[in-house]
């Protein structure tokens, strides 16, 4: 099988990754020394896994770090219908015949971007194994259909995220995948910090933000009673935005916070009661 080895430094037609560069500083409120940890991981190009509940700021953190390091960021939301070809690329047909089209992962590997696979456990396990050669000392991506081995650009780093979730069994990473990553654990920020974040992001006053955070923390307690996930920081920001627009707080919270998270009627009643007591 003919194998050409190519890497971005030697390539003349390096792709322009400008659309993937963040132009403005994303707002990020650190909750610990995760920024320093990330910088050290990036210095050695260690693949990173970000673990944490949904909507707690994992994606925002990666955006912030990409901006801080001045690297382009290619984000991919994983889903169960995603195949390896969606990551690495495929042949397409044009007027002259077939033409190879790099997938987003290949683009990041070839041209030096941070590739962020969001919710990686949603992808099937046979899809995630394509990242294995990239996440050890080889740092290569074999494109077997094309017969090419892409050596990773020096700037390339792989970051994945997932939600360890509530006692789930089937949706977890294989050990062979897990052991290739360094991990940063995320959780919802402490109450004070979370209120600051919600106030800043939604543009609402601090007292209202603190009230929303109170509701979220009450809902997170209900995980022990069978709620899959509590109300996330992201949902609080949505609710805050609706309130800032002038919608009544109870309606905003129901629409952006309590109605979406569960279909269980008992939980809905309990969350409704929490809302009623809050405003």
């Amino acid at each position: 099988m003919p194998c050409g080895v190519s890497g971005a430094p030697t390539r003349t037609n390096a792709m322009d990754l400008t659309p993937y560069r963040l132009t403005a500083e994303p707002y990020y409120h650190p909750t610990g020394h995760e920024i320093a940890l990330y910088e050290h991981a990036y210095a050695h190009r260690l693949p990173l896994v970000l673990k944490g509940p949904t909507g707690c700021g994992k994606t925002r953190f990666v955006e912030y770090m990409a901006w801080r390091l001045g690297k382009p960021l290619i984000t991919l939301a994983c889903n169960e219908d995603m195949t390896a070809a969606d990551l690495v690329g495929r042949y397409l047909l044009d007027a002259d015949g077939t033409r190879w089209h790099d997938g987003p992962l290949t683009t990041a590997v070839r041209h030096g971007a941070i590739c962020y696979l969001d919710e990686v456990v949603e992808a099937r396990q046979d899809t995630t194994v394509v990242i294995h050669p990239l996440t050890d000392s080889r740092r290569i991506l074999p494109l077997d259909k094309k017969g090419e081995i892409v050596a990773a650009h020096p700037d390339f780093q792989l970051v994945v995220s997932y939600n360890p979730g509530y006692q789930s069994h089937s949706k977890s990473l294989k050990q062979s995948t897990r052991q290739r990553f360094a991990a940063l654990e995320f959780d919802y920020p402490a109450a004070e910090a979370e209120a600051d974040i919600v106030a800043h992001e939604a543009g609402i006053d601090r007292a209202l933000a603190a009230r929303l955070v109170d509701i979220a923390r009450q809902s997170r307690r209900l995980r022990e009673r069978g709620l899959d996930e509590g109300i996330s920081t992201r949902m609080l920001i949505y609710a805050g935005v609706l309130i800032r627009d002038g919608l009544p707080p109870v309606d905003s919270c129901r629409m952006a916070m309590t109605a979406p998270i569960t279909d269980d009627p008992d939980m809905q009643r309990a969350l409704g009661a929490i809302l009623e007591s809050a405003f």
């Binding site: 969606d86 397409l92 046979d126 069994h169």
Partner: protein, 549 residues
């Protein structure tokens, strides 16, 4: 309008509310109907359990609002109120007034933290029936009204004085002691006004306020008076449930024996397995066995379809896919040469198959499964119901199912009751086979797991899974070290997983969570607190075991 029918469906949600507000073991139950001639029924707070009566008919309010207010008021008591204060030589009227002031203090604290409650309380107050002018209860009611509703006014001098005294302390709401003084002043005034209190008919005027029995440490008499509370009636269960369970627990005649198998047992102190340590006795169910009480009809389980990529199936001529479909691509070029519009469906992708799963459902039949759950049904009853649901749900599918029960009487007699074998056609009514499952004896889980694994190992399905329904940690008459059987079962699970059998446990008992975690590992078990959610938990466990995403 109000009634038990409106309360019962809300109890679980109100329990969740207590939990969300920080009362971990908070629970809300229904209180029995009131005695005919006693005071109006009020909620009772007993530990972290709130017993709610039906809403009083005289108040024109939504029962839902009232029950929520009562729950939040109880949360306030649990958060802020002193507990079991000595009554000293205080008179009943003084105690009642102290309780009424404490109720308002708690409500005001809650309103300060949760502003929505103020609206709720005021809405309830507006539905209050017309208050009489005189009498202790009326005065207390009027005082509470002006304290909870800033817009309310009252022309009674005592009520006005009470309001002024209370508001003077309102900056120190957190301090229960700060309100003692004003209670004795107000009680003294009432004495001078010769206001009498009818001990027989007095109840806190606002129906969301509980009877405050938790505030005071009365004498031994009061201890007994407290036991007017009771558990809610078993839902849907026949009235004769307890005797019937007792009957089930009695030693049944041994079922016919099919075979005996010896299994090793892991001794963690020795760090090795002892061979031929346990004997598993397979027993069969005689065909015409008495059927179990038919479980109340529940919604059938809806099981997720397994979706697994199968490269042996190639779906051609797709709009999109992983690879070009070469035949289609060739035709595209031919069409182009011919000047025709080519068919753009030129991709190929892999299909999906439904891998067959062999599932063994293992029911714990130890004596403890005869215990009644808070819902009024026994654990075994719930296990049978779950098994019946699963049997019904799998009727239409290719998956193979075995249902077995186990209990043990020492290491030489671990009974493995084959209720439904792999490949055996499902009976028209699953209850007929499940009726043979009777509670008794102990729980030697490890041996049962090993035998179930052996049964599963003979299955040729693509996936093999073992689902255990249990009510607690393993135990047996000849195991004196509580850890021994836990470690043995954990070992059995590891061995099963090595043989490619997925193991999962659903338990109805949170108390033994530590043991379950040791045996089945993190993510290998789920605790179902609410039996009503058992069906959902079962469907989800099945989906995970069968590899459905």
């Amino acid at each position: 309008m109000a009634g038990a029918d409106s309360l019962t469906p809300r109890l679980a949600a109100l329990g969740h509310v207590m939990h969300a507000f920080g009362i971990d073991d908070g629970e809300v139950q229904a209180l029995d109907g009131p005695p005919q001639d006693g005071p109006a029924p009020r909620p009772v707070l007993h530990g972290a359990t709130l017993l709610l009566p039906e809403a009083p008919a005289a108040w024109a309010m939504a029962a839902e609002d009232l029950h929520l207010a009562a729950t939040l008021h109880a949360i306030g008591h649990l958060r802020h109120s002193p507990h079991r204060l000595p009554t000293g030589n205080r008179k009943p009227m003084s105690l009642a007034l102290a309780g009424a002031v404490e109720d308002v203090r708690v409500d005001r604290l809650l309103m300060r933290r949760h502003p929505g409650l103020g609206r709720l309380f005021r809405r309830l107050l507006r539905s209050q029936p017309e208050l009489p002018q005189v009498g202790f209860e009326a005065l207390v009611a009027r005082l509470q009204r002006v304290l909870l509703d800033p817009q309310a006014d009252d022309d009674n001098a005592w009520v006005r004085k009470g309001r002024a005294l209370f508001e003077a302390q309102a900056g120190r709401l957190d301090d229960a002691e700060a309100f003692r003084e004003l209670v004795s002043v107000l009680a003294n005034d009432l004495g001078q006004l010769r206001v009498r209190m009818n001990l027989q008919t007095y109840a806190p005027p606002l129906p969301w306020h509980d009877d405050n029995s938790h505030l005071w440490a009365h004498g031994a008499d009061a201890e007994q008076a407290e036991t007017t509370l009771r558990r809610p009636p078993p839902q849907g269960a026949p009235q004769s449930a307890p005797p019937q369970v007792a009957d089930e627990a009695s030693d049944p005649a041994p079922l016919p024996e099919l075979a005996r198998h010896d299994y090793p047992e892991w001794h963690y102190r020795l760090d090795r397995a002892r061979d031929h340590w346990c004997t598993v006795i397979e027993r069969a169910v005689p065909p015409a066995f008495a059927s179990a009480p038919t479980p109340p009809a529940r919604t059938p389980l809806r099981l997720a379809r397994s979706r697994r990529l199968d490269r042996s199936q190639r779906i051609r001529r797709q709009w999109e896919g992983d690879e070009l479909d070469l035949d289609a691509a060739t035709e595209v070029f031919i069409d182009r040469r011919l000047g025709l519009a080519p068919d753009p469906r030129l991709f190929r992708r892999n299909g999906r198959t439904v891998p067959r799963t062999s599932l063994l459902l293992l029911l714990d039949l130890s004596a403890s499964t005869a215990d009644l759950q808070p819902c009024g049904r026994s654990v075994l009853d719930l296990e049978r119901e779950a098994a019946a649901l699963l049997m019904e749900a799998l009727r239409e599918r290719e998956d193979r199912l075995e249902v077995a029960g186990f209990n043990s009487d020492g290491r030489q007699a671990v009974n493995y009751l084959r209720l439904l074998d792999f490949g055996q056609p499902l009976p028209a009514d699953p209850a007929t086979v499940l009726g043979a499952a009777r509670p008794g004896l102990s729980t030697r889980l490890g041996a049962a797991l090993r035998h179930a694994t052996t049964r599963l190992a003979k299955e040729r399905s693509a996936q093999r899974a073992l689902l255990v329904l249990s009510d607690g940690a393993p135990s047996d008459i000849d195991a004196f070290d509580a850890r021994h059987l836990v470690e043995d079962a954990a070992r059995a699970v590891v061995e099963a997983r090595r043989k490619g059998v997925r193991c999962f446990c659903l338990s109805l008992e949170r108390a033994s969570e530590a043991e379950l975690r040791r045996i089945f590992g993190h993510g290998g078990y789920r605790i179902v607190d609410d039996p009503a959610r058992l069906a959902a938990a079962l469907a989800r466990s099945y989906a995970e075991l069968a590899g459905c995403d």
